[in-house]
Symmetry: C2
Subunit: 319 residues, 2 copies
């Protein structure tokens, strides 16, 4: 058995976004067709240093590999000059269990696959003409979600909302070097009024966007709420929307943005479309420029499976 070990630099150099996006779309579709085995997530917690470790694992039935991902977040790390997230992915053979590859990605692939899911949601739900892109938040995902939108819309006009002026300034700077024109604001109303493709990326635990603010034709991707208690949208927005999409219905009504509307009975399970089905069926996608559409993304292990397989296969070819 020869286990190949790949470093972050090798991993970064292997990725071509458009083809990786296709592979992740296929993964979502297989997931919604129940062709993916995804056991419950493993969790280790370190309350004293505000740290947690998630172990996600699974496989596509009758495929070549299974994937185990370990991802950690130690939120006090920045205080001692370290990044908070870390991780690796393991590629194994479904036939023999052999460990074929170790991707020492330090959490990078989780960030990328998360941002790509946002671009996929926009691809099928954003209005045909995107006037301005609204980004809520200034963190890693605020950066990466916008970067990935390049591949699905030509719009380069951006309004970013945040609370901290320094972070807003830094975000503007970072993204303008990437070819965007960025206006910063601490007034969420301005963003909602001018943007018809909005991505919320914060770890907020109370609504930032409210139902009476939302304009006809808007699409909102909410990806901040990934555990119980987090919330970025007024639940009435979900009720008001024409199309509501979840990356995993199971997860989103349990601990995603949709859980609040679901618990308050503002939406029923059968009104929610799973992302994999949205991708596969044109008639479920946005039909006109007046519909309000929402996508709730909590992160599904099939994204990890697909990105790990993609990187591993690419690195095999370039050896």
């Amino acid at each position: 058995m020869k286990t190949q070990i790949f470093t972050l630099d090798q991993i970064k150099s292997s990725i071509q976004i458009p083809e990786l996006m296709t592979s992740i779309e296929e993964g979502f579709t297989l997931y919604s067709q129940r062709k993916v085995v995804v056991p419950p997530v493993g969790l280790l917690e370190f309350p004293e240093v505000h740290g947690d470790v998630h172990i996600k694992y699974g496989y596509i039935k009758n495929d070549e590999y299974y994937v185990i991902k370990i991802a950690s977040n130690f939120y006090e790390n920045p205080k001692i000059g370290l990044i908070s997230n870390n991780g690796l992915m393991l590629i194994n053979s479904q036939k023999t269990g052999e460990l074929l590859g170790i991707l020492l990605d330090e959490g990078y692939l989780t960030n990328i696959r998360t941002a790509i899911a946002g671009a996929i949601a926009a691809k099928y739900l954003a209005p045909k003409v995107v006037k301005k892109i609204g980004i809520v938040g200034t963190g890693i995902q605020a950066h990466l979600q916008l970067e990935m939108l390049k591949y699905v819309t030509e719009c380069k006009d951006v309004i970013v909302y945040g609370r901290n002026e320094n972070s807003l300034g830094k975000y503007k700077n970072d993204m303008e070097t990437q070819g965007f024109q960025v206006i910063t604001t601490q007034n969420i109303d301005k963003l909602i009024k001018e943007c018809n493709l909005i991505v919320t990326t914060t770890p907020s635990d109370e609504p930032i966007l409210f139902a009476n603010q939302i304009k006809e034709g808007a699409h909102i991707t909410a990806m901040g709420a990934d555990t119980k208690g987090k919330q970025e949208l007024d639940p009435k927005i979900i009720q008001k929307a024409d199309i509501v999409v979840a990356d995993s219905i199971e997860q989103c009504i349990d601990h995603g943005e949709l859980s609040h509307a679901f618990n308050e009975k503002l939406i029923s399970r059968d009104k929610i479309i799973e992302l994999g089905n949205l991708i596969a069926h044109t008639n479920l996608q946005r039909q006109n420029d007046k519909q309000i559409t929402i996508a709730d993304l909590t992160g599904v292990a099939v994204q990890d499976i697909q990105i790990a397989q993609y990187v591993y296969n690419k690195l095999q070819k370039t050896k």
Copy 2:
């Protein structure tokens, strides 16, 4: 962050059994004192190729590392010339989550830590004078359990029981090169009559040893039953025993050898001593040469934590 990667050869060369045994004893004691965090085991199954993957993970509170172990068994592998078990262990910092070390042990450390637990049980429960050692089974653990007993008893006379003459012959050969005198038998009665330290190591699903056969003063370590349905001992043996020990009471009454006696109400939970408490308290150990004693070993994640930490620390020093 610099992740160090160690191969099987490096790992093997780092191990000194007596000091590793001490470290695993300490682990059992900490486990029984509820100082170890061990979440539920993760499981991936591949029914078509008779394969399964177990993910065990945890940490000793206020210690330096946490450990994640991945161990696979693909039972059809030998048909294509591969070993069936595989695996690796990951060492991470409890303070920052950083991945410090990868031990590419290919399942070796799991085998060793399992055999060491058997030697620990014998250390505290075997009669003072071991007349002969009885080994039931001829597989990997039949080999390793006997090897590890070197460190706790001077007895070198062995009777091995098995069903297959070739396997018995091979076992005799293997262990005689290690300094044992081995008699093979297909008659379990002979083994029980002559041996007062017995280790059962088979994946049997029905009793091999019966209560009316067991002699005064015998110790039996049963380590074959590690999932529901497996069984090596007549449950009446448990009832007859003066001291009954479990590596984890929780696990043993759920899916170990003791589960059968527990379900048939032949033993109550409060009569079972946990291995970590046996080690810590002299008064719980064997008191004379007439007692019948039993140890049921199902394997506890703290063994993985201790062996991984031990190997990682040793390899740091020898660099």
